[in-house]
Symmetry: C2
């Protein structure tokens, strides 16, 4: 691995993944990852720009930010780039009316979207709502469309809760793709459009930005393909085999967000 | 399409798919497809050998045969090749202990299989039992294995019930493959081993046999790759677009099993 000074030179903005970097979800909302509350606070006191870039699609942005604030994080709704609001924008631009297979917690994000007589399907991390009945309904809606359009809010394989690994939306996206013989449009990481809007909102160019995440493909691979640097933390869904991933190599691996922030404050923006 | 006489010359044995060819499942067990009861009877009175080759994995063979008999079909358990008994044979041969994600209706087929301390996962068409909780459990079992082994009883995309199209096991197989980064072993059509055992049980070589099914990929494509001829019926899950499938072309398309049997009795085994 190259020296950190070289790796982090010129970084002006930091995109932070939330789940698995700031906290692990679970019973009673979850738990902050040790050192992360203080790490975010230090980062925000620095000259670096900070933005949160999440694929969280079970909760509305308001609920997610409320939870993070209760866990002690300094974060506001306007600092968060999340897939549900991005999807609503696309639906409006293209005049699409979705059938929603989403968790009740995120449904309010779609309050102003016309869902009558659907001409597309939107799936998000629906958790327990990924029942056979709900999956079959989404499948039937798609099969009845002449040009089936499926949006998936992220395509993560799984995430980590305090109780263990949990299936994310990606496997269910793959299930519907196979069942219908189609390819989904991903809204969220690793989609280039999603990184683009997060960077625009932060006001930083890709080559000046670094992504910090626990997902070697969605966070690290996606950010790198968009021209950013990326660090993987060894928290959340990180597995040792990620450091030997056949396709993606992070610019650096750190034990947790606290270590990443130590390094950034020492070496970035020089 | 070549003349039927040429297409069917030399056929000595017929493999019949069950769901979508003999009957459509649904409320109260389902309904026989018009003409199929009589067509099976005529076939069995002929000089042609007949065997039933199904991917049905929601019901035990005994329950399936009981249902077909109640619908009027002349069929016995010993005439049916089905994936659950084939899977049990493989599990025993390889000393594997499965975690089962299967419908209660087929569980009895696994009564004599050791399921303690599982070192593989078997999924079948579990219907409503494809809950998030059950899928997540299967996922967690696989992720804890050093060499995760997943068996899928068939890989059909969907099937047709009297009430509409229903997701089959294939999409859920794809979901677990993606979540775990593995490839499943398919037990059932279109696996060559499965056609091989059905043909052996019928005592007919592949080039002397014809498959009749409603699934362009699983029935028709699978049988052709194994060296058999194959007809697709326009019943069950058949869709007009199947006749222009990008990869598979049936040797012939018929409206239903009755028409297939008319043609076979006229042209085969000459």
């Amino acid at each position: 691995m190259a020296a950190w000074g070289e790796l982090l030179a010129g970084v002006r903005g930091v995109l932070l993944d939330i789940s698995g970097v700031l906290y692990d979800g679970g019973e009673g909302g979850g738990a902050a990852i040790a050192g992360s509350v203080e790490a975010v606070a230090r980062l925000k006191r620095s000259r670096l720009k900070v933005r949160f870039c999440t694929n969280e699609s079970q909760k509305s942005r308001a609920d997610l930010v409320g939870l993070l604030q209760r866990l002690g994080f300094d974060v506001s709704e306007s600092e968060v780039t999340a897939p549900a609001p991005a999807a609503c924008l696309i639906l409006k631009q293209r005049g699409l009316r979705p059938h929603l297979l989403v968790h009740d917690g995120v449904r309010s994000e779609f309050d102003h979207i016309d869902t009558s007589n659907p001409n597309c399907v939107v799936i998000a991390d629906a958790g327990e709502d990924f029942s056979y009945r709900n999956m079959n309904k989404a499948f039937q809606v798609l099969m009845e469309l002449e040009n089936p359009v499926l949006f998936s809010l992220g395509k993560g394989r799984y995430y980590k809760e305090t109780s263990g690994l949990m299936l994310d939306v990606g496997p269910y996206m793959k299930a519907l793709e196979y069942a219908c013989g189609i390819e989904a449009e991903v809204v969220g990481k690793p989609s280039p459009e999603f990184f683009k809007s997060a960077l625009q909102e932060m006001g930083v160019e890709a080559h000046e930005a670094i992504m910090i995440g626990d997902d070697i493909v969605g966070d690290v691979g996606g950010a790198q393909r968009y021209g950013m640097r990326a660090l993987q933390v060894r928290t959340g869904k990180f597995r040792p085999s990620d450091e030997h991933h056949p396709e993606v190599k992070a610019d650096g691996y750190v034990d947790n967000l606290a270590e990443a922030v130590d390094l950034l404050l020492q070496h970035a923006n020089k």
